[in-house]
């Protein structure tokens, strides 16, 4: 019997697409999501009528609900749903589950946001509202900075170690025409930035942007009709930490480790088979955490791993080759999967990496849940 989450190509990604990223005034979030869908279908040569499943992602301001998107896009899919959170891993996992159950066989996953134009300041407290707001504990930067200071204290990690994450991702973004931040950044420039929430700096945190992204997922049978370059979903894994602050070390998010234990058996690969790694990065600290939990670097060894070329730009294991949320755009993780698919299909243009057969994507929904997916070029 297969282990849990062993999708093994019974679902495949057949197309990915996106709009421009940045500040896009004059269009609603839902219209932007539909524009992402239109471009994706058009580029892939897939008819709208071929789509019989729709999974949307709620976006800032209450937009992105499946019923509204379906009406706007003129669709009556057999199945539709909305997830209240992003990163795309959770959406993709739901798509594979409903395809497996036979509810539909071609699913469009769409996300569009105008949170930059809507001036989302991310000023709502995390954790318990009253207690957090009394002391001004606001923005994801707060708990991420707490986790980083504790990590420095326990493991001897330095600010220069963490800086390697943002510097490496910026280097990739220089070659990515979609990226918002394309000016090269040195470690010295990083360290010269003032703190925002000490010990984190501006470049440790992603900037809010507008945009849309879309993925089309199909059953193995339908995938072959729709493209000659499907990307197989090999395995999926998830774990929640919903008890929040009653969990010990909640901001270290130790439950990510359980996803790490499940994902390689689910995919039927070993970690050494991963050719390109994608880690969702609202903060650089989350990249540091996931590199350690998934076992790509030793605890406390992230800076050293970048410096000796084990991971990152120019290293043996490419990491966030699009520049990630820190440098490309804040598409709540959706563009990480788009990039992984483009690399696997050989569609990444100037930043195409050689010999990418297997890619892994790791993401988290804040302090609530973690997920990972392994994708492979279909043989």
């Amino acid at each position: 019997m297969n282990p849990p989450g062993a999708v093994r190509g019974r679902s495949a990604i057949v197309a990915v697409g996106n709009t421009e990223q940045g500040e896009l005034p004059g269009i609603s979030a839902d219209e932007l999501a539909v524009e992402g869908l239109r471009r994706t279908l058009a580029q892939a040569g897939i008819a709208k009528g071929a789509v019989n499943g729709l999974i949307t992602c709620k976006s800032y301001g209450g937009f992105g609900i499946d019923t509204a998107i379906g009406r706007l896009a003129g669709m009556n899919p057999s199945y539709s749903a909305t997830l209240d959170y992003g990163t795309c891993n959770f959406s993709l996992h739901l798509a594979t589950a409903v395809i497996e159950a036979g509810l539909c066989d071609v699913v469009a996953i769409v996300y569009g946001t105008t949170q930059r134009s809507q001036r989302n300041t991310f000023s709502t407290p995390l954790g318990h509202p009253d207690e957090s707001s009394v002391y001004g504990f606001l923005n994801v930067a707060g708990p991420a900075a707490m986790a980083f200071r504790r990590h420095m204290s326990l493991h001897g990690t330095t600010e220069a170690d963490l800086g390697e994450v943002a510097v490496s991702q910026r280097r990739y973004a220089v070659d990515n025409p979609l990226a918002i931040f394309r000016e090269p950044m040195s470690l010295e420039q990083y360290l010269a930035e003032p703190y925002l929430v000490e010990p984190l700096r501006r470049s440790d945190l992603c900037m809010i942007s507008d945009g849309a992204a879309c993925l089309i997922v199909a059953s193995r049978e339908r995938a072959r009709d729709l493209t000659d370059k499907p990307v197989d979903v090999l395995g999926i894994a998830q774990q929640t930490g919903l008890r929040d602050r009653q969990n010990a070390d909640q901001w270290m998010r130790p439950w990510i480790e359980q996803v790490a234990e499940r994902i390689y058996p689910a995919a039927g690969i070993s970690q050494a088979d991963v050719d390109a790694l994608y880690i969702q990065d609202p903060t650089s600290m989350w990249v540091l955490q996931m590199l350690e939990y998934y076992g790509f670097v030793a605890t406390g060894g992230v800076g050293e791993a970048f410096r000796r070329g084990a991971v990152g730009h120019g290293g043996r294991l490419p990491l966030n080759s699009n520049g990630g949320q820190l440098s490309e755009a804040y598409m709540w993780g959706f563009l990480h999967l788009c990039e992984a698919v483009r690399q696997l299909r050989g569609d990444a243009g100037e930043r195409q990496l050689p010999g990418i057969e297997v890619a892994q994507y790791c993401s988290t929904y804040g302090f609530m849940k973690a997920a990972s997916t392994v994708l492979a070029r279909s043989r």
């Binding site: 207690e131 002391y135 707490m146 200071r149 703190y195």
Partner: protein, 127 residues
């Protein structure tokens, strides 16, 4: 904030009288925070507010150098997470110079005026 009618009102009332109080489940004895109408262990709705020894250990702390909200304290300001000996994890602030603070530092609550928020728990290093 301290006039709150929310579930956590007894916590802030306790702070004004110099006590750190949390809800204890009268069915299974679990001490819970943040305040809630249900025990997360046994799901009972029955609980009493109980004062605890206001001592614990600094899990970590950060310094905000920018303001994310008009209602936030004026930057720079410090926020800490303290793991109390009773098991509760509390978001709070630390008295004194941040240069002297360390992860793992033992602290005890004082109850002090904090900006316009009234009397709230503020933790200081145990001598």
């Amino acid at each position: 904030m301290t006039e709150s009618l929310a579930l956590d009102a007894p916590f802030w009332e306790g702070a004004r009288t110099g006590e750190l109080r949390f809800q204890r489940c009268t069915d299974c004895g679990f001490l819970r925070w943040p305040a809630a109408g249900v025990c997360p262990e046994c799901l009972s709705r029955s609980a009493v507010w109980e004062a605890v020894e206001p001592v614990g250990t600094v899990w970590s702390f950060v310094i905000y150098h920018r303001s994310y909200s008009r209602s936030a304290p004026p930057p720079p300001y410090l926020v800490a997470l303290v793991e109390l000996d009773c098991g509760v994890r509390l978001i709070t602030t630390l008295a004194g110079s941040s240069a002297d603070h360390t992860v793992g530092m033992r602290v005890r609550a004082r109850f002090e005026e904090f900006l316009d928020r009234g009397v709230v728990p503020v933790f200081a290093a145990v001598e």
